[in-house]
């Protein structure tokens, strides 16, 4: 037993050395994760923070000026052009100068005073449908509050219905609060799987795997020895992203650190299992990398990182049950943002365990039975 552990530890040490001996590969394992988490923390946002608009005000009235000043007051909208005629609308939208154009007809204020509906034309550049949708919703909300002020200034009654809104776990509904915790899992996932996929394939390509097989080590010992170093590297990478999330972007952490790490450990074991199977199936490094990559693209895309899993059609949602990253992202969100205990995320831990229990023995079996 002691022998067994010693053998595994020796293999772990050798694997660690193989990964870390090269200074450039040390850098490539640490720096990118750090830079990406900073860069993507700023870049990965669906929140509308900057909406340049142009105005075509044919009414030149007090009411239109007041509405526009409410728009400017949000800090999100700012005017980039004041148009003279309708032909110019096309230009400012086409060249991307303005995300939206507000057009007040000549009768805008007259209609308002006459007690009629005063149309406000809003033309949006929907090449990015998400930004256009957010801008439309914001304009709608501003117009609603303008209408309310107008009613009250004209001596009308207050609206009979008000809506109180509240958002749990993310009071200002910032995308960053969602993206950054997800990054804790995804950024580490990418390199961990790649690294694992290369480990056996490299030995195969260099012919040293056959030597390893004739040593007293059993395939399962080899598997453990190959699995532990990438798991540790993955955990270090996750820790880096977590530090950036917590201390640079100051996303408050509601859950316990221990719970988070326990969840991450489950996730790393199952992703390393996936990596090992890929590695055992490939004949050389290039195949291993390409197969790993081919698998990882869909896994990342369908994990809920890019778009919520709930927006996906039913059959694709079922497919995501085989995706470790999907469960890891859900788990980290719950623990990090909602602060739940480990018992509340059992439905994420079970699939992760199942994935690990299938992939690990499969990889060990492949070591012996697939000599390429």
């Amino acid at each position: 037993m002691l022998n067994k552990i010693f053998r595994i530890l020796t293999l772990c040490r050798k694997e660690m050395l193989a990964i870390l001996k090269d200074p450039s590969s040390r850098i490539v394992l640490i720096m990118p994760v750090f830079l990406q988490s900073l860069l993507f923390g700023y870049a990965a946002t669906y929140d509308l923070t900057n909406a340049p608009y142009a105005v075509l005000d044919q009414s030149r009235s007090g009411a239109s000026v007041e509405l526009l000043s409410m728009l400017d007051g949000t800090g999100v909208f700012h005017r980039v052009a004041t148009l003279e005629n309708e032909q110019q609308i096309q230009d400012v939208i086409d060249n991307g100068e303005a995300l939206l154009v507000l057009q007040f007809g000549p009768d805008f204020e007259r209609n308002l005073y006459a007690g009629q509906a005063a149309p406000l034309q809003v033309i949006l550049d929907a090449r990015n449908s998400n930004s256009a949708g957010s801008a439309a919703a914001d304009v709608g909300a501003i117009v609603a509050s303008f209408n309310q002020q107008w009613r009250q200034s004209q001596g009308g009654s207050a609206p009979a219905l008000t809506i109180e809104t509240r958002a749990w776990y993310n009071p200002n509904l910032e995308t960053r609060w969602f993206i950054m915790p997800s990054m804790i899992a995804s950024l580490a996932f990418l390199q961990t799987v790649m690294l694992t996929a290369l480990s056996v394939a490299r030995e195969r390509e260099q012919g040293t795997f056959d030597q390893l097989l004739v040593t007293p080590m059993s395939p399962s010992e080899i598997m453990v020895g190959k699995a532990v170093p990438p798991i540790m590297i993955g955990l270090v990478q996750s820790t880096l992203v977590m530090l950036v999330t917590r201390f640079w972007f100051e996303v408050p952490m509601a859950g316990a650190l221990l719970t988070l790490y326990l969840g991450l450990l489950f996730f790393m074991v199952s992703s390393v299992g996936v990596g090992l199977v890929i590695s055992a199936l490939s004949a050389n490094m290039q195949q291993a990398m390409l197969y790993a990559f081919m698998l990882m693209m869909p896994l990342m895309l369908l994990s809920g990182l890019a778009t919520p899993v709930r927006n996906m059609p039913e059959p694709i949602q079922i497919l995501t049950y085989a995706n470790p990253l999907r469960f890891a992202i859900d788990l980290i969100q719950r623990v990090y943002l909602e602060g739940v205990s480990i018992f509340a995320v059992w439905h994420d831990l079970v699939p992760l365990t199942v994935i690990a229990l299938i992939t690990m023995p499969w990889a060990a079996w492949l070591f012996r039975h697939r000599l390429v």
């Binding site: 490539v28 990406q36 860069l39 870049a43 946002t45 669906y46 929140d47 900057n50 991307g96 209609n111 509906a117 005063a118 149309p119 034309q121 809003v122 033309i123 949006l124 550049d125 929907a126 090449r127 449908s129 256009a132 957010s134 439309a136 919703a137 709608g140 909300a141 209408n147 107008w150 004209q154 009654s157 009979a160 219905l161 008000t162 809506i163 109180e164 809104t165 509240r166 958002a167 993310n170 509904l173 995308t175 609060w177 969602f178 290039q286 195949q287 990559f293 081919m294 693209m297 895309l301 369908l302 809920g304 890019a306 778009t307 919520p308 927006n311 694709i316 943002l337 909602e338 739940v340």
Partner: protein, 397 residues
């Protein structure tokens, strides 16, 4: 680089003949090398599957799987007041295609459903709702689960505006509000370039950028790095072929794969997902070929610098693929990021191709933008291929 063997019989006098002969030899060697590369590409299934199968998978994922549009979001409705007025107020949710409301008895039950993420939001009708509404002070509460922020804010917006509109309608019916002759602004919004208002239209054109980057930069970097790592370049070196010929022969098959990928993307975008083609198809092809050269240049440069498969794969992932996802305006609008990040985003050629391709497919031929982005792409192509050639030649000597 030693003088090529084919050039040996050249003399000063019959320069024209020699030149013709050199060109002939060049083409012959190029043909032979390219044939070898194509065979190698066809033999290794892993290369081909990245080049051809992955684009198809990505197309399907993007077309069918990914969506930023909310439909049928489950919402728990807590009816603490079951009066007809309360039923009327929340009927707006039942009619909306965006929600599928579930009636629950208590706030406690609704909270449980939120915690287990069975529902995305809770709408609470307080027990005094109908009496308060009659007094002109009706109040509804909307609580949304904020973990998935973008989805949550869309749900919040839709729910609020649906409920408010229904409120106005109720007031009208009871003769309270807009019958009193006070005007109000009515927003009439029009979405240009995306009449269907679906995120598929803006995601799918971006996918072309992704796939071209994949074959151009990632695959090329990997394949070339392998040659360096295995030392097969040195073997080619002692043969009469020149570095340019080696590079060209390596590029041509992947160029072909890139073009096939592009064709597949355009066909599926048009016929499967109905993405329009407002601009000129010819221009789009031209721009794509231009970008393919940029990507190939990046791939060659990375492989020549790293000369190691693992490093090449990691670096091409970092400088070409991840920026396409995160910094090019593919999914996230660069208008919304801090200035510095916006500048960094515009340093990547993918960002320019992304803007161009979205414009060409969704908006049309907007010439000032086309000319600007095409010249930027040309500059990048010249820069990267030139650098790759420089690095390769220097190291081969």
């Amino acid at each position: 680089m030693p003088e090529a063997a084919a050039n040996a019989p050249m003399t000063e006098t019959d320069h024209g003949v020699a030149q013709r002969r050199t060109v002939g030899a060049f083409l012959r060697r190029l043909y032979a090398l390219t044939r070898k590369e194509v065979r190698q590409l066809l033999r290794d299934k892993s290369n081909l599957s990245i080049g051809l199968l992955l684009p198809v998978i990505l197309m399907l994922i993007f077309g069918y799987g990914l969506s930023l549009d909310v439909r049928n979001a489950p919402v728990a409705v807590v009816m603490e007041d079951a009066s007809p007025a309360a039923m009327d107020a929340i009927s707006a949710l039942q009619l909306s295609p965006y929600f599928s409301p579930v009636l629950v008895r208590s706030m406690h039950e609704a909270n449980d459903k939120m915690l287990s993420r069975e529902v995305d939001a809770v709408v609470r009708v307080p027990s005094d709702f109908s009496s308060a509404l009659a007094a002109g002070q009706g109040r509804l509460q909307v609580i949304v689960h904020g973990a998935e922020a973008s989805r949550a804010s869309i749900i919040l917006n839709y729910a609020t505006s649906a409920l408010l509109q229904q409120g106005v309608r109720l007031q009208d019916r009871s003769g309270g509000a807009s019958g009193d002759g006070i005007g109000q602004v009515q927003v009439d919004s029009r979405l240009w370039f995306n009449a269907a208002n679906t995120s598929t239209w803006y995601l799918v054109p971006g996918l072309i950028v992704l796939i071209m980057t994949l074959t151009g930069a990632f695959l090329t970097a990997l394949v070339m790095a392998r040659e360096w790592e295995r030392g097969t370049f040195e073997a080619l070196f002692v043969s009469p072929v020149k570095p340019v010929e080696i590079l060209l022969a390596k590029i041509i098959p992947y160029f072909g794969v890139g073009i096939i990928g592009l064709t597949m993307c355009l066909t599926t975008a048009r016929f499967l997902f109905g993405v329009p083609m407002e601009g000129s198809l010819l221009l789009l092809l031209f721009a794509s070929v231009l970008y393919l050269f940029v990507a190939l240049g990046i791939g060659l440069l990375i492989s020549s610098v790293t000369r190691n498969q693992f490093m090449a794969s990691q670096i091409s992932l970092l400088v070409s693929l991840l920026p396409v996802f995160m910094l090019s305006g593919f999914m996230f609008d660069l208008r919304n990021v801090p200035f510095v990040i916006n500048v960094i985003g515009h340093l990547f050629p993918a960002t320019h191709f992304m803007a161009l391709i979205k414009t060409l497919m969704l908006a049309g031929n907007i010439w000032p933008q086309i000319i600007l982005e095409c010249s930027i792409l040309t500059a990048y192509a010249v820069l990267f291929i030139g650098l790759a050639r420089l690095v390769t030649r220097k190291r081969l000597d």
